[in-house]
């Protein structure tokens, strides 16, 4: 029986390297055969205290394809939550109705707290700016899928590396796999020193750049994120740097054949549409992989894999 049975997934550090790999292996099995009614006696609660259609549909599609029934809400309007019920009471009540809780909540640390109150396992589907571990797992899945391995890769992260939690999680997770990191961002949006420390503590190397062109020849993966105008106190500064983190098809001429472009989506203009047609674009497949990874997590945590 898997060590994941009955576990919570709140933060990427909750799982060991072997456990990540176990989830990815199970996800591969679901990619081959996604419709298996192995959770037909289970109820999955999806509690979205803030709307996130993309993430919720991915979880619900995953649960549906495994035959589970779904209860919950897609935003707290009209529920007892809006009437002022505490998170504590909501979770205690729902954990008596469901076998697994998937929760998204804008308050940081809310999922950890829910897991301490709940009598059933909790999967964090995003707690504000803190953690979104299933996004990280699907990123790992996509990297392994496209590269055939996770070890010894050159990972380029581009865009808002300061506030982008998906990048922080990805860098931390890839520290388990002897990666070399190439960090491209405007000066104002560099990777926080705490995340760089994780890289150093793992005995790995990172290089910092301000122009995306410099990483294209070395990267195995280019992980793009959006640079938001609101992050810049000076709008002129935004105008000056915004193009340095935009990827276009013509820039990809010197890239490695195995290189793939990932993006947590939604994109705005940081990847131009002409990239979509190139063999390097993988971001839409990446989103699809989220369903298999979420199926794998639910199956493992509920003890049927």
């Amino acid at each position: 029986m898997s060590t994941l049975k009955g576990r919570n997934l709140i933060s990427i550090t909750d799982f060991s390297k072997d456990e990540y790999i176990e989830v990815l292996d199970i996800a591969e099995e679901f990619e081959k055969n996604p419709k298996q009614k192995i959770l037909s006696d289970k109820v999955v609660a999806t509690l979205f205290f803030e709307p996130s259609t993309r993430t919720r549909l991915s979880f619900e599609s995953a649960a549906n394809q495994l035959g589970a029934r779904i209860i919950g809400f897609s935003d707290p309007g009209g529920t007892s939550v809006q009437k002022g019920e505490s998170l504590h009471d909501t979770i205690v009540m729902v954990s008596s109705y469901a076998d697994l809780i998937v929760m998204r909540n804008p308050k940081e640390g809310s999922s950890r707290y829910a897991s301490e109150v709940s009598t059933v396992p909790v999967i964090n589907a995003g707690d504000g700016a803190n953690q979104h571990p299933t996004q990280c797992m699907l990123d790992l899945y996509s990297i392994r899928k496209t590269q055939g391995r996770l070890d010894n890769l050159n990972i380029a992260c581009v865009g808002d590396l300061k506030y982008g939690r998906t990048v922080h999680s990805l860098v931390q997770a890839m520290c388990n796999f002897n990666a070399t990191f190439h960090l491209v961002s405007p000066q104002e949006l560099k990777l926080p020193s705490s995340v760089k420390m994780s890289v150093k503590n793992a005995g790995l190397k990172y290089y910092q750049y301000t122009d995306i062109k410099d990483v294209i020849p070395v990267a195995d993966i280019i992980y793009m994120t959006r640079v938001q105008r609101e992050r810049f106190p000076d709008p002129l500064e935004y105008e000056r740097v915004k193009d340095s983190c935009i990827l276009t098809a013509s820039m990809l001429k010197g890239c490695k054949d195995n290189m793939r472009v990932l993006h947590p989506l939604p994109r705005v203009n940081e990847i131009t549409v002409d990239v979509d047609k190139t063999p390097y674009a993988y971001y839409f497949r990446q989103a699809q992989n989220g369903v298999y990874v979420r199926q794998a997590l639910m199956a493992a945590i509920l003890g049927v894999r």
Binding site: H88, P106, K107, G109, Y113, N130
Partner: protein, 153 residues
């Protein structure tokens, strides 16, 4: 025994002496221990001469011995302080204010978006750096530091 300071702050028969408190945090130590509401003799001396600091503060609390939690509170604002338990005018125990590895209940998380600032939840922190005082919130995973530390009311 340093008789000069005894002239300034009288001896107590039973209770605790918190000595070698940096002058700027003396009243904060008194506050976080709730001594404003303590209904027995409390003697506070500040800007006293000492060898360890140029000037120091001292607090004497009659008929009170501090709990482990209270000692950790002292350690967070005055890590150099010594805690001396007195019985019958004699020193029975000398403790250093030692910063614990984990802190529960009495510190607020500095992150306004942290769940602990929105629901009635006891806070929990791991102390990741004792020297520079860096506490990692068990819930939101953000760091509260010397500059941002606040105590629960």
């Amino acid at each position: 025994m340093d008789t000069k300071k005894e002239l300034v702050v009288p001896r107590i028969e039973n209770g605790t002496v918190i000595d070698h408190i940096p002058t700027e945090v003396v009243y904060q130590v008194a506050h976080i221990l709730g001594l404003e509401k303590y209904e027995d003799e409390v003697l506070i001396g500040n800007y006293l001469s000492s060898q360890k600091f140029i000037r120091k503060g001292i607090i004497k609390v009659k008929n009170k011995y501090f709990t482990k939690e209270e000692l950790s509170k002292i350690s967070l604002v005055a890590p150099m302080a010594s805690i001396i338990n007195i019985k019958n005018y004699e020193v029975v125990e000398k403790l250093e204010a030692e910063i614990p590895d984990h802190i529960e209940n009495f510190i607020k998380c500095m992150n306004p978006m942290c769940i602990t600032n929105h629901e009635k939840i006891a806070t929990k922190f791991d102390v990741v750096d004792k020297e520079n005082l860096k506490l990692r919130c068990h819930y939101c995973e953000k760091f509260t530091t010397k500059e941002t530390i606040r105590f629960c009311e």
